[in-house]
């Protein structure tokens, strides 16, 4: 067919995959519940090839999906059946490191950790999703990825100053640049987190920061998440902004301990990881306060990382919690809801009640500082009725979080998985406003269609300038 010939011409035959065996690798992203087979996977090697590929899709009217490392957890990189999947894994050069100006320019296939490695040891790139070893900057930009340290440092969006993008009609242009506050609308800010629906980024200029002078980390164990939650409240009310505050409940501790053997007490009700970083003396003073707060809240034990190796164990165990869930349950749904932090105890109670009603277990591992829960609804796909019950429970948990004033997603994105919950959080005029932005970038709806918005929408024509009605002209009628 003509489009495939054109794509083959652009990237070379070895970078166009069409055999169904080759396509299988790309059928799903990190969320395996969803799978779809694209017509072809194309692997461009340069930004210019990306532009040509997108232009060819536009000319043929064929939808396309951009994919980075495929580690996303919302089905954001799920291919469109019979569409083109553009895999950006070959665009993985770090183009410029400028520490005087604290900027790094990278191609989208560069992994998150490679950015930090490129500026170490003097600097660091703060957004640190748990998947940072594999996930790509292009994917981080699409999803506005966060991570454990975003309570203090913010999200991808706070660190992207400029993007070279290819719009769905094949036009290539820069949004923003190295400088802050360029004139005009902040399209960089609008593009980050747009989940691949506004175009594809082919270069990103990232802001890095000086690496903190000192880091202090502890993990404290409590009889329940509520007790651990008291420490979180105490920390916040004392005006301390830790680099990270992470909580794991009993089920998560069991799963993670099984995976890493860190020596965590598997009967503990909750584990709270607190990390402070910054200037040495500042850290020392604050860290002592946090240890006291843990003691006052009745911590059963506190482990303070004595060196970098012990700190690494704490983080490895925390970041292993998702993947380790397979040890305690054959299947699970991951949720990513956010609540106002002060509603923690209340919402955790609701989740417990909902879980009992549905006769299922829910494990919780979450970013406690910013109220980003990751409830994992555990089920066995081979037991009749369980997957359906689990899905219903997952939906009710999302609704409970939205009702508490929160959000359906804190960092994983809406993708295909959570778009059905969008109307719980946003009204029709809100969704229509989102569509305005999408239509400005992609009037033909070719970029990652079927994601984010709950129902497919077409873009209408932009209304022309207002014309006065002949009756108004004649002074026979007025509108106000």
């Amino acid at each position: 067919m003509k489009l495939l010939d054109e794509l083959r011409r652009i990237v070379g035959a070895e970078h166009l995959l069409t055999h169904h065996q080759q396509l299988r690798t790309y059928e799903s992203d990190g969320l395996l519940q969803y799978a779809a087979s694209p017509r072809a996977v194309v692997l461009p090697g340069t930004a210019e090839e990306v532009r040509e590929v997108v232009a060819a899709c536009h000319a043929a009217g064929v939808p396309w999906v951009a994919r980075g490392a495929g580690s996303g957890l919302s089905g954001g990189a799920l291919p469109v059946e019979e569409g083109i999947l553009i895999a950006l894994t070959r665009l993985r050069r770090i183009l410029d490191v400028n520490l005087d100006d604290a900027r790094v320019t990278v191609e989208p296939g560069v992994t998150n950790i490679e950015v930090s490695n490129a500026v170490a040891p003097t600097h660091t790139y703060p957004p640190d999703p748990s998947s940072q070893i594999v996930c790509s900057i292009g994917g981080n930009v699409a999803e506005n990825s966060g991570g454990a340290h975003c309570f203090k440092y913010g999200f991808t969006s706070n660190y992207v100053t400029g993007l070279e993008v290819v719009l769905p009609d094949g036009e290539m242009l820069w949004l923003g640049g190295s400088e802050l506050d360029p004139p005009g609308l902040d399209l960089t800010g609008a593009f980050v987190g747009s989940e691949g629906t506004l175009g594809v980024a082919t270069k990103a200029i990232l802001r890095v920061i000086p690496a903190p002078e000192a880091v202090r980390t502890l993990v404290a164990f409590f009889s329940s998440p509520t007790h651990a939650g008291e420490v979180v409240s105490g920390i916040v009310s004392q005006g301390i902004v830790p680099a990270a505050i992470e909580m794991m409940d009993n089920l998560s501790i069991q799963a993670a301990e099984g995976a890493t053997g860190a020596g965590y007490p598997t009967d503990a009700g909750a584990a709270l990881v607190v990390e402070l970083d910054g200037r040495e003396d500042e850290c020392e003073e604050r860290f002592d306060s946090i240890v006291s707060l843990c003691e006052e809240a009745g911590a059963d034990s506190i482990r303070v990382a004595g060196d970098e190796a012990e700190r690494a164990v704490i983080w490895k165990t925390r970041k292993a919690a998702f993947a380790a869930m397979g040890r305690i349950s054959p299947n699970y749904f991951v949720q990513d809801s956010v609540i106002p932090r002060t509603k923690l105890a209340e919402v955790l109670g609701q989740i417990d009640d909902l879980a009992s009603e549905h006769e299922l277990r829910v494990a919780n591992v979450f970013h406690a500082g910013d109220g980003n829960l990751h409830p994992l609804v555990l089920y066995d796909g081979n037991v009749e009725g369980e997957p359906e019950r689990a899905e219903e429970l997952a939906g009710l948990i999302v609704k409970a979080c939205v009702d508490a004033g929160g959000s359906i997603t804190g960092e994983h994105g809406v993708g295909v998985d959570k778009k059905r919950y969008m109307p719980d959080q946003f009204s029709e005029p809100d969704l229509a406003a989102f569509q305005r932005l999408r239509c400005a970038f992609d009037p033909d709806g070719l970029a990652n269609p079927g994601k984010v918005m709950p129902t497919p929408r077409l873009c209408g024509e932009v209304p022309g300038p207002y014309r006065r009605h002949p009756l108004e002209e004649a002074g026979l009628a007025e509108r106000m």
């Binding site: 903190p212 005006g239 005029p429 400005a440």
Partner: protein, 406 residues
């Protein structure tokens, strides 16, 4: 505000619990109603009639953006939209109406030892939060905590087709839907009217301390600024000031141990060849930095550049006899030209732009005579500008919101 309220036509929106008739009616349009409904209705009417509108808070930055013709433009004022709707202390968030004065909100947040980390120049204490966000203005605190775009969690806007929409939320982490908060921040009202804002707050430090390092050598100052920017100091603010025979690098610290932070900064400054001192109390020196971003009688420009180009910036300023205030870590600078004729000021703006090219230099303050001689507002490149226009066409289908994008 009063001096602006006669021309052009002014439509004030008043809070629903204190209805107040609007009397100012000119030939083209009028609207009388209460609170946000009045603002929304006035915008919808203007949209339907194709009458240009601009949104006005305290009228402290009306000269920003592409020039707006005064005649025939309806002003929709946010005076009545001034409530603090929520202050969620435990969550460090707040929801405010756009017309709430920033200074007033800060007083309320301070009662809980919290603050919105936004300190643009606001000597009169009248600037509204909506105006500051819409203008994308900021002050020294931006060094550590980001600009307005980084502090807005959610937004509610009114559009020219009469619709009202929300984006974002009131939690500090949220990626559901497009980030329209960032789109409207700094939009200068070109897309629609910000009605309500959801904001992230931070704990207010119990004390602050500031280190100052002085030198008469522009090159030494710029080099020291780069050194400090690269150090892991976590300074609350990091600025320089230059001009009028007075030049210094300033580093301010908060947190639990501010004094030791200032001492650490002072040691680095000293090593870089500056004459150092600790400034205590330090409020005044930072107030000067904020005010140095504006000029009541002269011409002030905002420059977006990079820290490594400050040496050139400062030496150009010296040659032009200009004053500079800069966020050394961020590459943002404000250059003020005073005591010269309009023609001289215009020539200096031209030279500054040539020297600093490609850094955009936008005029934030200037006498009308100077403005008439130059293109005051820097424009984006043609490609991005066309895309911005397509975004505007979708959000402002009636094409009535001013300023325009070009």
């Amino acid at each position: 505000m009063n001096d602006r309220s006669k021309t052009p036509t002014s439509v004030a929106s008043t809070a629903s619990d204190q209805p107040e008739p609007v009397t100012s009616v000119a030939s083209t349009a009028s609207a009388v109603a209460a609170g946000r409904d009045a603002a929304v209705a006035a915008l919808a009417s203007a949209g339907e009639a194709g009458t240009p509108v601009r949104f006005v808070g305290a009228a402290t930055k009306l000269g920003w953006g592409v020039p707006v013709a005064d005649s025939g433009v309806i002003e929709i004022r946010t005076d009545g939209l001034d409530r603090l709707l929520e202050h969620n202390e435990g969550d460090l968030t707040a929801i405010v109406e756009a017309g709430l004065p920033l200074a007033e909100a800060q007083r309320a947040f301070a009662e809980a030892d919290q603050e919105l980390l936004l300190d643009p120049p606001d000597s009169a204490g009248t600037a509204t939060i909506g105006g500051v966000i819409a203008a994308g203005d900021s002050g020294p605190l931006r060094n550590r905590y980001g600009g307005p775009r980084d502090l807005v969690l959610g937004v509610q806007v009114g559009l020219s087709d009469g619709s009202v929409a929300r984006a974002g939320g009131k939690v500090i982490k949220n990626v559901a839907g497009y980030d329209l908060s960032k789109l409207f921040t700094g939009s200068l009202g070109s897309l629609g009217l910000i009605l309500e804002l959801s904001l992230r707050l931070h704990p207010k430090p119990p004390a602050t301390a500031t280190a100052a390092g002085e030198t008469t050598e522009p090159a030494t100052l710029a080099a020291a600024a780069l050194e400090l920017a690269k150090a892991p100091l976590e300074a609350r603010c990091l600025d320089l000031r230059f001009g009028g025979g007075d030049s210094a690098l300033l580093a301010r610290f908060g947190g639990a141990a501010p004094r030791s932070g200032a001492q650490a900064a002072a040691r680095l400054m000293e090593r870089a060849g500056l004459q150092t001192s600790l400034v205590d109390p330090d409020d005044e020196v930072w107030e000067r930095q904020r005010e140095g971003q504006r000029s009541s009688a002269g011409t002030a420009l905002r420059v977006s550049t990079l820290p490594s180009r400050f040496a050139g910036l400062v030496s150009t300023a010296q040659r032009l006899d200009a004053r500079v205030v800069a966020r050394t870590n961020l590459g943002l600078a404000w250059v003020v030209l005073e005591d010269r004729s309009p023609a001289e000021a215009a020539a200096a703006v031209g030279e500054l732009r040539r020297e600093l090219s490609p850094a955009p230099c936008s005029v934030v303050d200037a006498p009308a005579e100077v403005r008439s001689l130059i293109d005051a507002w820097a424009l984006p490149a043609p490609g991005p500008l066309a895309l911005m226009q397509r975004v505007k066409d979708r959000f402002d289908p009636a094409g009535v919101c001013r300023p325009s994008l070009s």
